[in-house]
Amino acid sequence: MHEMSIALSIIDAVTAKAEEEKAGKVTGIELEVGRISGVQSESLRFCLPVAAKNTVAEGADLAIRETEPAGKCEECGRRFPMDGFFARCEFCGSLDISIVSGRELLIKSITLE
């Protein structure tokens, strides 16, 4: 389960930032996770509290915003929602699609005390 190593990376980044900001406690972590990022939000919710144990982020509230996949047609330039990794352009029928959203895996912000 790679969500555990992802959770550890998140806690590493969060504790480093807290230290830089000279904060004693992290009370909130806000994440953005794309639906086709390859990371399950549910597993992250399970792993993060475990990864945060005995760090300044222990007990922090977790907010995860899931982003929906969207594609951009490389032929006609239009954007449209996708439900996975592949789609035919809704407008011109092209198969040359770039994924422009849905693969995010970001720490948006943290709340410090």
């Binding site: 992802i6 806690i11 005390e113």
Partner: protein, 264 residues
């Protein structure tokens, strides 16, 4: 705890050299922040303050992967990350590929598995430098493990580095190792819908090798359908069909690999 040296590294990755029981290196996962003190006294802020980060979760891995990539480029090393489910024939593919490349280019191999040095022993029999990374409970190689293994073995100029990832079609797709390309291997005993079921891996790959084509007469697998599915997910995917066991289709793959090595 490590059973060899007694150091505590539960679940941490360890690098082994086949046939050398006295050698092992722990891939240090420093900076986990788990031993940090959490001194809550003395802070008087009752309201938290929000600090924007906008940081990629895999930033640390990606930075280290870029360092690996810079090292490979400077030494003109073509690093290939081989990915697949367990049992699709990655090690056999390497066993058949390396002897054909070895007369022209130096080859080194990093083997990733949760446990054992079996794969590294098979590669060592070919007479090329190889290290085994045992990830313990980990399901993928990361840039730090590769960095450590590469520093341990050193790489020859103008060489080929084959990194055989842990057999897993899901997680390894997320972790950049610094490779020049990812090659995904599937076999005809799997399913021709695999590219649709595990798209993340196929989106990330540069090439796909369909292995065990000698078994096609015996299994309900349509190579054309599989190829179409793979190209649906990734239009730029290079496609090879071969049997590492019988050598059928191997020439095309070897020629392509040699052409990539010439560019290094």
């Amino acid at each position: 705890m490590c059973d060899t040296c007694g150091c505590s590294s539960d679940g941490g990755a360890v690098i082994y050299r086949p046939g050398d029981a006295s050698y092992h290196v722990h891939v240090d996962n420093d900076g986990h922040g788990h031993h940090q003190h959490h001194d809550s006294e003395g802070h008087e802020h009752s309201h938290g303050r929000q600090v924007a980060l906008e940081q990629d979760v895999l930033l640390q891995n990606n930075l280290l992967a870029e360092r690996n990539r810079g090292y490979f480029e400077a030494k003109h090393v073509l690093a290939i990350n081989f990915l697949s489910s367990p049992g699709s024939g990655k090690t056999t593919l390497l066993e058949k590929t390396i002897p054909q490349i070895k007369p022209h280019h130096r080859v080194s191999v990093i083997e990733g598995d949760q446990q054992t040095t079996r794969d590294a022993e098979r590669i060592q029999a070919l007479g090329v430098p190889v290290l085994q990374v045992n990830t313990g409970t980990g399901c993928h190689l990361d840039a730090r493990m590769v960095n450590r293994a590469v520093m341990e073995m050193g790489l020859a100029e103008n060489s080929l580095l084959c990194i055989e990832n842990v057999g897993n079609l899901v997680c390894p797709a997320l972790f950049d190792l610094g490779e020049a390309m990812k090659i995904v291997v599937i076999s005809v005993t799997e399913g021709d819908d695999k590219p649709l079921k595990y798209p993340t891996m196929f989106v990330e790959a540069d090439a796909c090798i369909l292995n065990k084509t000698d078994l096609l007469p015996y299994v309900p697998f349509d190579a054309g359908v599989c190829r179409d599915n793979a190209l649906k997910v990734n239009r730029k995917l290079e496609w090879f069909e071969l049997s590492a066991a019988t050598g059928e289709g191997f020439d095309v793959w070897i020629e392509w690999l040699k052409s990539k090595l010439k560019k290094e």
